[in-house]
């Protein structure tokens, strides 16, 4: 039986067309994009084309794209680069506003900045995992240099009101950043419609290669480099360009633009079928995240009485790949910080799975996963002392929300 991969929010498979575009640059076309000779110029032209392709997908100018080693570096660059520029001049410590449900790439960077004397406010979210723009309004003060709120949450898929928050940030003359890594290729992303100054993206979430991403920097934004070195990327990011990866990222963005509308509609339909099937066939489940303002490919489900990792391992045995919360927190003992911020109690937050569909997901796969899931949940619940107590009437069904 083939493996069923429902973990596209962790990473996506490389599109064959992307691989094809990359191949020459992994082999014969080995030039350094900074060299003046023909091989160098060939690499330079390929990087320029990729920059246009990436810029085009997000409605930016090519000169506003800085290639990075991935989404994490782009987030680090945005936060640390903006705060570094403020520190140079001001008397009072700079202030950063972010949310409680950011990816660790933002959260841990914010915590590091906090240790260095930066003031940080973490915006709460509602029960659907949504930041309220009015909370951003009250958190922003005269010292606020940067507001960073993700476009769509990786664990529950909730889409954030970034445009509304960006408008408030602009009024208060704060720079607005959004981590759009999980949104790119799944929902339309346009830097002007969002009104953001900085935006992080990554290739491997859009069927491109791993190890390449970009930070969009709106022209005129005051930001220091994160990585110093040569003159590459208009001196905003040192280091010889990763030409094959950049070429792959460009082609992946081009494809994402062409396929976006169709694949989003298709994935939403399949996701809804999966959600409905789970609701109909499995008792004591809870769908997490916003009912409508949600990534079309993402479904986060809580299964009462069981722990998520044992479900994951049992599904893996049946050749179905899913995730508990985010892949980054696997191996961590803490329940999901996103679900805790949404008001879930730790007990409920432990028993969740994330299903994230992709371009190649089929209806047959949805049907198979439903059958497997019914079996696996029953098997793991049969082992659970809490389920046992519930069956015997010694324990309430525990809607288990705070």
């Amino acid at each position: 039986m083939a493996y069923i991969y429902f973990d596209h929010n962790a990473t996506t498979p490389l599109d064959p067309a992307v691989l094809e575009a990359m191949m020459p640059f992994l082999h014969e076309a080995h030039g350094n994009a900074s060299s003046f000779h023909s091989p160098g110029r060939e690499a330079r032209e390929a990087v320029d084309l990729a920059r246009k392709q990436v810029a085009s997908l997000i409605g930016a100018q090519p000169a506003e794209i800085v290639f990075t080693s991935g989404g994490t570096e782009a987030d680090n660059h945005a936060l640390r680069g903006v705060i570094a520029r403020v520190k140079a001049g001001a008397g009072q410590p700079p202030h950063l506003v972010t949310s409680a449900i950011e990816h660790p790439a933002v959260l841990n960077t914010a915590q590091m900045l906090e240790q260095q004397g930066c003031a940080v406010s973490y915006l709460p979210v509602d029960e659907y995992g949504r930041v309220r723009p009015e909370d951003a309004r009250s958190a922003i003060n005269d010292a606020t240099a940067l507001v960073s709120v993700m476009l769509a949450n990786n664990e529950v898929g909730t889409i954030q009101p970034v445009a509304a928050i960006a408008a408030i940030a602009r009024e208060r003359k704060a720079i607005m950043h959004t981590d759009a890594v999980q949104g790119l290729g799944r929902i339309p992303v346009d830097v002007d419609a969002l009104g953001v100054d900085l935006l992080s993206i990554s290739a491997h979430k859009v069927y491109g290669p791993k190890g390449i991403g970009a930070l969009y920097i709106r022209r005129g934004t005051r930001i220091a480099p994160l990585i110093y070195g040569g003159h590459q990327e208009r001196r905003r990011r040192g280091g010889t360009e990763n030409v094959p990866a950049i070429v792959g990222f460009g082609r992946a963005c081009e494809l994402a633009g062409e396929l976006l509308a169709e694949s989003a509609a298709r994935e939403a339909r399949l996701r809804d079928r999966l959600e409905q099937g789970i609701r109909e066939r499995i008792e004591h489940v809870r769908i997490n995240g916003h009912p409508s303002e949600r990534l079309p490919n993402t479904l986060n489900v809580g299964f009462t009485f069981v722990e998520g990792e044992s479900l994951l391992m049992n599904l893996d045995i049946e050749r179905v790949a899913v995730s508990t919360g985010s892949a980054c927190s696997s191996g961590d003992l803490q329940p999901s910080h996103v679900l805790l911020a949404m008001g879930f109690e730790a007990e409920a937050a432990h028993g969740t799975l994330r299903f994230s569909l992709g371009r190649r997901t089929t209806e047959e796969e949805i049907a198979t996963v439903l059958d497997v899931l019914v079996r696996v949940v029953a098997r793991v619940r049969a082992m659970s002392p809490m389920y046992r107590d519930f069956i015997k009437g010694r324990r309430p069904a525990a809607a288990s929300k705070a």
Binding site: E307, E309, S330, E345, A346, H350, A382, R388
Partner: protein, 175 residues
Amino acid sequence: MEPYTEKVMDHIRNPRNVGEIDDPDGVGEIGNPICGDVMRLYIKVEDNRITDAKFQTFGCGAAIAVSSMLTELVIGKTIEDALRLSNRAVAEALDGLPPVKMHCSALGEDALRAAIRDYMAKQGQQLCVCGELDCPCRPECEERERTRERAHAAAHGIEVEAPEDSPATAGGSTN
């Protein structure tokens, strides 16, 4: 996280001795759903020897594998030998656990000890949390145990309220 060993995967795939014993001689329950792991162990004892063991576990793959392996290891052992079974021995029988999951093996040892304490209490004997009968330093042992439980909860990012001063009772759950 490091991957699970083949032995661990085998016990996740086919857990041994899942369920409950209708008229158990001892029951031990350890853990906290907030931490993401609860293990309940039932034992049947005849002539000072564990003749049957069954478990119910809410927890990760490692917690289930530990529970399953534990039941295999204790069936047939005398109470004294069962008390000498360490969490390390359970982990070794599984060919090891990823470092972040080592605390799951402690869950097994603790549940076993709790089940035996419950059994002993029914026999009118007081077994200290340290595993010694008629231990002269019970309060110290119990304080040490509470400290350990708080450390476990802290590893899960949970703060446990200060220990109560109520007199300790033998057997049953220790959390």
